[in-house]
Symmetry: C2
Subunit: 481 residues, 2 copies
Amino acid sequence: MSSSLSPLPSLAELAAGFPADFLVADPDLAAGYGRDRTGDYAGTSFAVARPRSAEELAALVRRCAALGLGLVPQGGLTGLVGAAVPGEAPPEVVVSLDRMSAVRSLDPIGYTMVVEAGCVLETAKQAADAADLLLPITFGAQGSCRIGGNVSTNAGGFNVLRYGMTRDLVLGLEVVLPDGRIWNGLRTLRKDNRGYDLKQLFIGAEGTLGIVTAAALKLFPKPTQVETALIGLASVEEAMALYARARRSCSDLLSAFELILRDGLDLALAHRPELGDPLETRCPVYVLMELAAGGSVDLRAVLERALEEAGEHLLDGTIATSRAQADRLWFYREAMVEAQSRGGPYYRTDVSVPIAAIPAFLDSVLAELAGSLPEGRPITYGHVGDGNIHLNVVPPADWSREARKRLFAEAEEVIFTAVDRFAGSISAEHGIGRSKKRALMARIDPVTLDLMRGLKDMLDPDHRFSSGRIFDRRPAEPPAP
Amino acid sequence: MSSSLSPLPSLAELAAGFPADFLVADPDLAAGYGRDRTGDYAGTSFAVARPRSAEELAALVRRCAALGLGLVPQGGLTGLVGAAVPGEAPPEVVVSLDRMSAVRSLDPIGYTMVVEAGCVLETAKQAADAADLLLPITFGAQGSCRIGGNVSTNAGGFNVLRYGMTRDLVLGLEVVLPDGRIWNGLRTLRKDNRGYDLKQLFIGAEGTLGIVTAAALKLFPKPTQVETALIGLASVEEAMALYARARRSCSDLLSAFELILRDGLDLALAHRPELGDPLETRCPVYVLMELAAGGSVDLRAVLERALEEAGEHLLDGTIATSRAQADRLWFYREAMVEAQSRGGPYYRTDVSVPIAAIPAFLDSVLAELAGSLPEGRPITYGHVGDGNIHLNVVPPADWSREARKRLFAEAEEVIFTAVDRFAGSISAEHGIGRSKKRALMARIDPVTLDLMRGLKDMLDPDHRFSSGRIFDRRPAEPPAP
């Protein structure tokens, strides 16, 4: 008989031998580990465990194997694809990393830090900052998300353009494996070609192959100068041409290049009318660009010269002359993101296409959405310097839950089909989790699927870690004849 | 009975159905594929095949499986660890990628290119350069090595500091698998979090898990300014302090930071006395540093200010005022590398330690070498901005082959033991191949070994690809009872 049909073990069996506070006892507290930050995903766990060390977690993994329980690791619950929220079958133990939150070390000569998985990203960034160093992972949820989640989702964000994805910043990992052993790959070496680079297996694997307990990360000199500009342009094509030129004219010191379409700005202004139009000219397309540098570079002059060279291609623009002004420019983007959810749930995407294909992709998909879903309001923004578009669709505020659900399914069909046409990705930075596994499986080629399954079967043959994420749950074995 | 005991198939069986020129027929030409550039490694292949496409290679892989032959992919034969030179048992077919050498595409907006595995690195660099773009992989062998080899060894070089290892530059791969299928992961997306990042498996795997046939690579704006300085310092410690300061004061525009010890410079000067001492002051330690940028940054001013700030920490220094002067400064390094081999074979290493540990590591290991191997002349240089040291030992010119061999073994023991003490790597950028597999296996932990073996067994269960590299050959199966 398969383990999922066995009677459930008791909490006492699970907790035996661990410290008294190893499991979260208070049911209200435990419920907090069963729902993600959006509330879109919720589930009930068998128990919530809060290990203090990789060794304690490894012991828990072995115990769970003996008791037929699954495990799901949990960071800040900000991933948006349901990967870290507990499922029902087989019963899962949530592994919260929140007790493993130390910054273990920081090396200002080697430009590295070693951080435990439960450390909140913002806390790790502050520790680097206090040593005049930069941990460049930067995005909205940085005050809640945790390093282990950043690694396990290969998190992106605003600064990928300059510093890469989380994968590019990981030098080493400590991982608890599904067989209950600890893999110690926690190195700070910049160059290490001793055989296969095993840490790559666990980065972006969403907890399905191992549970990351600590990471060694690359740091950078902390920028002492930041310049921010908001530029208005006639088209997305002009925005992408500006991007290609600006990388060149700004000595690759661009740290962010965010696209906002007028529709999105209008939504922000409706929500926050006190902001006022950011530029004198009303433009179809805006770009929020940021340069960062240290040392004696005259960064303002570099930015001014770059915009001067772009000259006639720009409709309008403004350069912030103070941090407060720069914050105000960024606030337009935040207000837009905030405004989307004012009328209730909306459809969110996180897709990417080759950078040069962005204009044609957006032309095509926005025309199709206007044709087939005229009631939905498409809001487009994204880290376009990385080809990453968040193309969302906001339904009318008075629509029912059912009507919204239909709209979401139809919008997804239109958008993902266009992504396929442009050889893009249906998940640029959030991963697959539970929300995109059907869409992934519908378009994955058989060789890729075999290789992915091979890795899962090699590392987690009983599908005990984060089962039902990325892949569908393995069907329960039929009873023996 | 195991396949290695079967009678050898005929060349006609291997070649049936392929184009007439698929195998290299001329024995002299074929012999050229059996020896690496140093002549340190040589072997005899069963045949040399030169496929024109991934499909043709896939058909060859299936044929070899049917005939019980192994395969070993070959690029420019500049890897220095014997990975691409054919072995004897099981008999191996060399797969030369030299007919698959096209630059398939180049995208100046997305800053990407797609190149076939057999393209010589220099050719790919020139194609990028012609479009005002930079493919940053840069090292001595770039005129001979090929992209597939760069990917399969995760090649390093001078510019890792700024642009990362080859791994960091790969966006997508096309790979022929040991089961004879083609994995098409040839994407140019900057962000793609759809499940496991399978391309990572093949980067740095030295051909043991698959044969790379094409790669999509990240490009950068071509620098329009380069500034080069040679700095003299009192100690390695001062050099590393200069590195940490210079990253900061140069806005992370450092593109190279090469360490040379006085011993190495003396060797270069003995070999090329016409060069003369590069600085007025005779210094124990030299650093060759280079900054690169495009756009309107005043790069010379940035470098001058950075050196000014370092002030009293520098003993002496010079900034090149022309490309010719810069080439001359780099030539000291080349002359040193050249001079090492003048007295016959010498012991070469390619190790790394955490950057901050370099001074203590070198102090310790050089003292030990002086104590235990006083006849050997240690030559130390390296890409120390990445923690990567090439610490070589040159025996007296009149030593016999046997005496050298003993010295090499003793030097390796001293150096690798010191690397272990400083938690470093015995292979920073060249890989394991055949030359370091014993040293790797002597210090690998059991969990890492299990995971590495698991990957090999998953992808190449019959150990048909590059057998005997990284791992020892699997012993032939015992005859059935």
